[in-house]
């Protein structure tokens, strides 16, 4: 049997045993996300479509799946959704500028030998693809942080219905600070793990520090890691502010202030 199939089956069984119905939904969401990424890649093959626009649409669908399908549609997930989209747009502007300036798109000289049989002049803008890659690699972490902040904020709001907007915002930020370290760690180790081969390669071929820092592959991966880290940090104040704003607004609507 295929390794992937067997690993998939084990993961599915574990998720059902431990998570029940919600576990099954989580597994199915993983599958749906895979389909969305695949479709996005197929659309990116069309030179007339802008890869960044495709990515933003794909990220919107993915956050819908992660927030509304795994959880359900309620005020917590709605505010998390809005915060995710805002964060992605802000992050996008920064990443577009950086990828264009740093010229980290496409393939490095270390990779190019293996690609000898391929035609590289394929008419797809690799600078935009590089931006798409960075955004896409953070979307999971960003939605996770968003829901991790908006959900306890809602709990706090229910327990203290008279809390002021400012206090609610402060509470959200303090929750964010608590998860900041671990969610940054999650991303860093994920990237360290997938770049392990590259790091060993650099060391084996005794690259000097200046060669490593300036090489396209290393800087592309460092920029990905750092942008991802910035993304999961940026979502904290944004979610805290939007949740505080919405929760209080809804309360004020229900109970008109004298």
């Amino acid at each position: 049997m295929n390794v992937l199939v067997l690993l998939g089956i084990i993961l599915f069984l574990l998720m059902i045993v431990i998570g029940g119905k919600k576990g099954a939904r989580s597994f199915f969401a993983l599958f749906l996300n895979f389909v969305v990424v695949l479709l996005a890649v197929l659309f990116m093959n069309d030179p007339s479509l802008n890869p960044i626009v495709i990515t933003v649409i794909a990220c919107t669908i993915i956050s819908c799946i992660n927030l509304f399908y795994i959880n359900e549609i309620n005020i917590k997930t709605k505010t998390a959704f809005v915060s995710t989209l805002i964060t992605i747009v802000i992050l996008l502007v920064f990443i577009v500028v950086i990828t264009e300036q740093a010229m980290i798109q496409g393939f490095g000289e270390e990779e190019i030998e293996e690609l000898g049989i391929f035609s590289l002049y394929i008419g797809i803008d690799f600078v935009k693809l590089a931006t798409a890659v960075i955004i896409m690699s953070t979307i999971g972490a960003i939605t996770d942080a968003a829901i991790a902040i908006s959900s306890p904020m809602y709990e706090a709001f229910c327990h203290h219905p008279n809390i002021s907007r400012k206090d609610l915002f402060k509470f959200g930020i303090s929750i964010g600070r608590d998860i900041l370290g671990t969610s940054a760690n999650t991303l860093f180790f994920a990237f360290f793990g997938s770049y392990l081969a590259l790091l060993i390669w650099f060391k084996d071929l005794s690259y000097s520090i200046e060669e490593i820092v300036n090489s396209k592959i290393f800087s592309a991966e460092m920029i990905t890691i750092l942008c991802a880290g910035t993304g999961v940090t940026l979502i904290i104040p944004i979610t805290a502010w939007i949740s505080a704003f919405y929760f209080v607004k809804i309360r004020d609507k229900k109970v008109p202030q004298p």
């Binding site: 049997m1 295929n2 390794v3 993961l11 574990l14 431990i18 998570g19 029940g20 919600k22 576990g23 989580s26 993983l30 093959n45 992660n66 950086i98 300036q101 010229m103 980290i104 798109q105 496409g106 000289e109 002049y121 394929i122 008419g123 797809i124 803008d125 690799f126 600078v127 693809l129 798409a132 890659v133 896409m136 690699s137 999971g140 972490a141 996770d144 991790a148 930020i173 600070r177 900041l180 370290g181 671990t182 760690n185 999650t186 180790f189 360290f192 793990g193 997938s194 770049y195 081969a197 060993i200 060391k203 084996d204 460092m222 750092l226 991802a228 910035t230 940090t233 940026l234 904290i236």
Partner: protein, 378 residues
């Protein structure tokens, strides 16, 4: 009065750290701005660009692209030809998979050719781009956001990242120098250190952290064991190691070690979420029953399982997008392209997912053990 002085010292300490940060910030930019002399490779700064001509290129798969040649005039910034003018030629495509358009102000590593006799103009070929400046900008953007939003916790997150990166680098050096020791052994030791350092730095010395450390280690090693067993049982069918790039060592080991380290962060996240929320419930109500704790713990686990597995999934899969498109545009069939480019990434994501899910009950029971020990003591 004492309160006032402590407040004052705290304030002055803050001011001091802001000043320190500003000095670091400015000096680092000055450093990359003027570090040409430290480079052995000649660097040239583009001062003038002229487009020579553009031709349309259609490859054998009917992909259209525009190839443009540009003439650059640049100033050499270091080495024996310092301050001389150099003429360079660059060809770039509009897709830019392995080339790019240069603009005035770009800094390039060049190879200078010895001028022929009677020729005064210096010529050369472009080798690469000087990217240290951009790396620095992104690094500072990251540091500032983390400090602004996270304050003290943000600072500790940065410290833990730096310490882990240095540790990883040392561990790899150690592995490469002493070829006798198995990579997985070195990885296991590093993982114990990574876990202890990151969790203690982020959460401090307390029972929550100890429970999380034990749960993380059990979860990671158990998930590795499962993955290893699966690979052995299926004789690794479906894994396309050809695709691993940059390989100088036994590829299977490198893959497993990467998988091991890659899922560690997510497993730590799950473990600390479980232990701190269960301890939180216990501290709120010391008389809460084990059964109630178990139930709440499982509910929390269910909530985080879906989004956590997604984090790993996207972090791993996204990097393959440019390669997938290159394959598709070169008329590779769908199935072949996917299995060539995604098999290892998917295996990593699934194995990491197993680690995450398995850590939920492990974290729950380890934390309960600690809670009950605390109960017995009281």
């Amino acid at each position: 009065m004492q309160l006032l002085t402590t407040k004052m010292t705290k304030k002055s300490r803050n001011v001091l750290s802001y000043i320190l940060l500003a000095i670091l910030f400015i000096s680092s930019f000055l450093f990359v701005r003027f570090n040409y002399g430290l480079y052995e490779r000649p660097i040239a700064k583009v001062t003038d660009v002229r487009i020579q001509d553009s031709i349309e290129n259609v490859d054998m798969y009917d992909n259209k692209d525009l190839l443009t040649t540009q003439e650059l005039v640049a100033k050499v910034m270091n080495g024996e030809h310092k301050n001389e003018e150099i003429h360079l030629v660059n060809e770039f495509s509009s897709s830019g998979a392995f080339d790019q358009e240069y603009k005035v102000g770009n800094e390039l590593f060049v190879m200078i050719e010895q001028p022929a006799k009677g020729q005064s103009e210096l010529t050369g070929t472009i080798q690469d781009v000087k990217r240290d400046k951009y790396l620095l900008i992104v690094a500072w953007a990251f540091i500032f956001t983390l400090l602004l939003v996270g304050k003290k916790q943000g600072f500790f997150a940065i410290i833990s990242l730096v310490v882990n990166a240095v540790l990883l680098s040392y561990a790899l050096d150690f592995y490469l120098q002493t070829s006798g020791i198995h990579l997985l052994v070195i990885c296991s030791i590093s993982i114990i250190l990574f876990t202890a350092i990151s969790l203690l730095l982020v959460n401090g010395f307390n029972e929550k952290t100890y429970a999380a450390i034990i749960a993380t280690l059990l979860g990671t090693f158990l998930s590795l064991l499962i993955t290893y067993a699966v690979m052995w049982m299926t004789s690794e069918q479906g894994l396309r190691y050809e695709e691993i790039q940059f390989i100088t060592r036994p590829y299977k080991l490198v893959f497993l070690a990467g998988l091991f380290i890659g899922s560690l962060g997510a497993v730590m996240d799950v473990a600390i979420t479980m232990s701190s929320s269960i301890f939180g419930l216990y501290e709120k109500d010391i008389n809460i029953s084990n059964k109630a704790l178990k139930k709440s713990g499982m509910e929390i686990g269910k909530d985080i399982m879906g989004t956590m597995t997604n984090i790993l999934f996207f972090a791993y899969i996204s990097g393959s997008i440019p390669m997938l498109i290159l394959y598709f545009k070169n008329a590779s069939p769908l199935g072949f392209t996917l299995s060539m480019n995604l098999s290892l990434e998917l295996a990593r994501a699934l194995a990491g997912g197993i680690g995450i899910v398995i850590t939920i009950p492990i974290g729950l029971y380890i934390t309960l053990l600690f809670v009950n020990r605390k109960r017995a003591r009281q």
